[in-house]
Symmetry: C2
Subunit: 501 residues, 2 copies
């Protein structure tokens, strides 16, 4: 049991404690500069009982720190996060940049245990979230994040005393909510579940239990945990983990070699199919909107393969209020300074919406791999991380479809030349395109690896032959309408899909 409530006494008397707190606070201020130089991102997550004094403790922890290098985010049952996005999104959204501290006023523990015990999520979802927490922590650790997890502990009797004191004061009585009273009543169940959650999530980053009945002791132990973890991380250098070795349910993967690039469609069939499929898609968009099914459509492909035109035909019948095309360019400095999936987590569609990504997170295992923009560890690790990311989406009810828009080198050359020779298309062709073209064999290999390692049952890849662009458009429209039709019929309750192990 992690949450045993025996007071761990130490030898410090009052004035020694005061001096130690002063010393540790100064150390922490110094560490703000150390992590800045070491480009380490640090997350301090404070969990604990209602009325344990979490807000106050955070204030005591940060009061000497330079506000330019930390931020505080509260997740205490903020209603607006609601359940419009996958569970982990709210935490990925606020990831700190390299070199900065983030203090979280409750985090993934309360969002799991609290929601479950308050009957907002069923047992199955609870267990899934525990697994998601572990996945996220491992991803954070492997990508160089330092996470310090604190739990502010008070006894049932102490909680009752505090609730009573708050309620007796006209100025503070509004602070006591029905939730607090309910937790007081259900203290034992909460205790048991908090503890089992902590047991289940103690491996990647360990828990630190703070004694909430002594403010100074809790502050001292909290400062000790934070400064100690930062010191250790700085000493060891930024962590860059390898592949996790986990297995995912892979499909018999498609290969570029199996694609029949002579595939084509007659003008007549194209026109009638385009009209039919677009009409069908418009209707399906209505239905997925009403059923609140989120949809993520990924486009990757060779330069000049016809992604843009393909996307336009797909987007045309969609209600513009319910979809976004998200073009992905090179990451900005703020994006580079965070977990590489951060910029995609922040752009996920809310329930009932469609997000079409024009290039995606697969940049990690293609351009970043080939150009050496990340370490070998990083891109090798990415296949698993991406499978995990996509599983978070699909478990929550998202339809994820991935298209590799495929052509051969000769077709690309023709199209490059055509662009170069057409004044109003010249902006579409850059020196970089020619340089990438020279690396066709490396890209071909990277694409094969990608198709082999990330064609999962829940988020399959489709190779789309696009020498005949019209054929490619119809193929994508067919796959999308079929998948949406299936999703609408399946009638899955969002967020409640069981995870296949």
């Amino acid at each position: 049991m992690i949450l045993d409530f025996k007071r761990k006494d130490d030898d410090l008397d009052k004035s020694e404690r005061k001096a130690e707190i002063k010393r540790l606070r100064e150390l922490l201020v110094g560490e703000q500069q150390t992590i800045r130089e070491a480009k380490l991102p640090v997350i301090v997550m404070l969990e604990g009982w209602d009325c344990a004094g979490k807000g106050n403790l955070i204030n005591e922890l940060i009061c000497e720190m330079d506000p330019r290098f930390f931020s505080v985010k509260g997740f205490d049952r903020t209603p607006e996060y609601g359940e419009r996005f996958p569970f982990l999104k709210k935490f990925f959204d606020v990831l700190p940049e390299n070199g900065k501290f983030l203090f979280m006023d409750t985090g993934w523990m309360e969002d799991t245990v609290g929601k479950y015990l308050r009957r907002e999520i069923p047992r199955e979802e609870y267990e899934r979230r525990v697994e998601s927490c572990n996945i996220m922590e491992r991803q954070l650790r492997d990508n160089g994040y330092v996470v310090i997890k604190l739990f502010l502990h008070i006894s049932r009797a102490e909680q009752l005393r505090r609730i009573t004191a708050l309620r007796d004061n006209r100025d503070t009585q509004w602070r006591v909510s029905g939730d607090d009273l309910w937790q007081q009543q259900e203290y034992d169940r909460f205790l048991k579940t908090y503890d089992s959650f902590m047991e289940d999530t103690d491996k990647v980053f360990p828990w630190h239990v703070l004694d909430g009945e002594s403010r100074k002791k809790a502050l001292y132990d909290g400062l000790l945990a934070i400064t100690g973890a930062v010191e250790k991380a700085v000493k060891n250098g930024r962590y860059d983990g390898g592949p996790s070795g986990l297995k995912f349910p892979l499909l018999g993967h498609p290969s570029q070699k199996d694609a029949d690039l002579s595939a084509s469609i007659s003008e007549e069939e194209y026109k009638s199919e385009l009209e039919r499929l677009q009409k069908k898609l418009a209707k399906l968009h209505n239905r997925i909107y009403r059923k609140k099914i989120p949809v993520v459509i990924c486009y990757e492909g060779w330069d000049a393969a016809g992604k843009g035109g393909n996307i336009r035909r797909l987007a045309y019948p969609l209600d513009p209020r319910g979809f976004d095309v998200i073009p992905i360019a090179s990451p900005t400095p703020g994006e580079l300074a965070r977990h590489y999936l951060w910029r995609f987590w922040t752009k996920l569609p809310r329930s009932g919406h469609v997000a079409i990504f024009d290039r995606t997170w697969y940049g990690r295992v293609m351009v970043e791999r080939i150009e050496g923009f990340c370490s070998e560890n990083a891109w090798k690790r990415a296949y698993g991380e991406i499978n995990e990311f996509e599983r978070e989406l699909t478990d929550w009810g998202t339809v994820v479809l991935k298209f590799w828009i495929h052509i051969d080198p000769d077709t690309q050359l023709e199209r490059f030349q055509a662009r170069q020779n057409t004044p109003e298309k010249q902006w579409k062709i850059t020196d970089e395109d020619w340089r990438n073209r020279d690396k066709w064999p490396q890209y071909e290999e990277a694409v094969e690896d990608m198709l082999r390692k990330t064609s999962t049952e829940y988020a399959p890849w489709y190779i789309v032959e696009s020498v005949d662009k019209k054929y490619a458009r119809i193929k994508v429209l067919r796959i999308v309408t079929d998948a949406l039709e299936k999703a609408v019929e399946e009638n899955v309750v969002r967020g409640m899909k069981s995870r296949k192990k």
Copy 2:
């Protein structure tokens, strides 16, 4: 009357119209590249009757465009925007970057007229919003934005026909809301108010009325309006307006010369006042949270004047769930590519929260003025724009307090040297600080101009003598607690304060 409903016929027959639409669509695609090169941001705002076909028209407008260079935002009574922020924030938040198109599916018109006629805002607030719309449009125009305002018009009978058709179809009946039915019933009142809104907001950017009863005609006229406005803007070059000449209710302004820099406080008084005021502030923070009063506190001042320590003492008693310290550094590329107030609009506190800005929008009239980072027109225009910006905040109920943390050059020199000689403080002093120091006289003049032109009754400047940093901290705490106390007692209903002309 702008919204007269006489069909404006033109001479085009069906096939001519089709050819013209094709031509204009191609022109628009080309203009995507033109505005990219000219770094022009373009906003297309589509307003109109319920069931007039706005979503469909937007789709028809964008269907040939490259999704990398435009986005679509819907504001059709999105509930989450709610009323937690000043009216204009939602529009400033989504401003497009230079070189990109933004299509708005209803905008500041529906958010004003619709809310008023649906009795969500009173007449007084309606009139204030009309004024705010004009202010925003002028600010956008002066800062180089092109705004095209379209209204999709249908008759009462036609609206009824469409509502009936939607309701008769099982797949589309969910699309008809009580709002739509109510508008149908109140058509004449809506017509009158739409028209008067358009009359009142026709000056900066004119309205274009489109005939919603003929899809092709509406598309053609919409394309004509957009391509025409863009063509004109590209020909004229990016607009850079001068000061508006508007008068604001200025206070007898403070001057650096009147500041008594020998002001100091005894250690004893400091300690007792700090404790007393911080306790008071903690209580007030509770109250402003409950009364949903937003608070914006601005810090500007000389380098090494003691801003950081001052902010820490102010922030210490605040509940971290209810405040943010927002450090302002040089703008990122994405920020530089938008209206200079964009990055501040997006960071405003929600109702009941406190935002402490460590440096602010006044960078425009200080560093940007002195270093020539913006045109002379731009910084001269900024005083009025900033007064308008702050009035939007205070009209909505925000408490805005602005502190100039003041020292003399000798004190600065001492502190610079101390930083240079203390290893753990060296990161705080850079070559840039020394360069800025050389420009003391220019900054002094800029500060005087700023104090003189932006010390308004509703958002006053306070000079805070900070040679004795403790004196400065107590002075700020006193001003903040007094102002919050007053705000809590005034009990202003948020968003309903009347604007002083």
